[in-house]
């Protein structure tokens, strides 16, 4: 495949931007977590594009992408447990409900 690496980085940047957008504008905590997953995926794509551009026998890129996937799984598990705790407390998953810290 002769797609230039820049185009993969453009795709990763666009995915990351969409993830940031969802993280900022959505109020549903579950969708916010999914936006974080999108951003981590964009990071993965960047790592693999870097490994492809670098070439050679070095597999650091895929190894780091694997670590990112593990971190994403951990983050999703903790985040969703927090969502469940939030739901128990407030009976909602909207982040607008968390106003205790408001001065």
């Amino acid at each position: 495949m002769n797609v230039p690496n820049e185009h993969m980085l453009y795709l990763a940047a666009a995915l990351f931007a969409i993830g940031v957008l969802g993280f900022v504008v959505r109020r549903n905590v579950i969708v916010v977590l999914m936006s974080i997953e999108l951003m981590l995926n964009a990071a993965n794509l960047t790592f693999l594009a870097g490994a492809r551009a670098h070439g050679g026998p070095d597999v650091s890129g895929p190894v780091f992408a694997l670590f990112v996937i593990v971190i994403a799984a951990v983050e999703a598990a903790v985040g969703l447990a927090l969502v469940i705790a939030l739901f128990r407390l407030k009976r909602t998953v909207e982040s607008d409900a968390l106003v205790e810290m408001k001065g």
């Binding site: 797609v3 795709l11 997953e37 026998p57 597999v59 994403a72 799984a73 469940i84």
Partner: protein, 186 residues
């Protein structure tokens, strides 16, 4: 031909990502994310990272998204912002339009790819260069050079498991404003 496949899949991945942000119901968000992950997986395959493509499907689509689905079902959020009964109004939302674009792009990409034998070409090209994430090299790096990080990841997973059980455990001392459910102390 593989290039065309890449750009079609990039479009699918972007539309799926947009669907995650735009969908009203979290259930549709999960399905859009699934489409995005599948497209990214095939992109990894085209970049000749077959192992990462498999991990993307197995771990992301198979484990993480199922976790999201579990929570959505557990908290009964799937019906939020969506009509259960079928009506043409369902097709007028922006999320539905993006979904239609995704479906159309997928169908077109599949049709053209099959017609021109792109998959065989792509597979041949991957076989020529060989996988960039060969399992022997990957295992050597993971257990040799990055062994410490690997073990730290194992510890992280253990700690996470304990933390998740403590967080999600139902608090016995019920009462409004009880902090026990968050701290996890008994």
């Amino acid at each position: 031909m593989a290039e065309f496949l890449f750009y079609a899949l990039a479009l699918v991945a972007l539309c799926g990502a947009a669907g995650v942000v735009l969908a009203k119901s979290p259930m549709f968000s999960v399905l859009s994310l699934l489409a995005s992950f599948f497209a990214l997986s095939v992109i990894y395959l085209l970049m000749s990272f077959p192992f990462m493509a498999a991990v993307q499907i197995v771990v992301y689509a198979g484990a993480i998204l199922v976790l999201f689905l579990f929570v959505i079902m557990l908290l009964d959020l799937g019906h939020m912002g969506s009509k259960v009964e079928f009506s043409t109004a369902m097709f007028r939302s922006p999320a539905a339009r993006i979904g239609a674009v995704v479906a159309l792009a997928l169908a077109l990409a599949g049709l053209i790819a099959v017609q021109r034998g792109a998959l065989q070409q792509a597979a041949g090209a991957a076989a020529e260069t060989g996988p960039r994430d060969g399992l022997p090299q990957l295992a050597e790096a993971l257990f040799g050079r990055y062994g410490l990080a690997f073990q730290a990841t194992g510890m992280l997973l253990l700690v996470t498991m304990v933390a998740v059980v403590a967080l999600a455990k139902r608090d016995r001392r019920k009462g409004p404003g009880s902090q026990g459910a968050q701290g996890g102390e008994r």
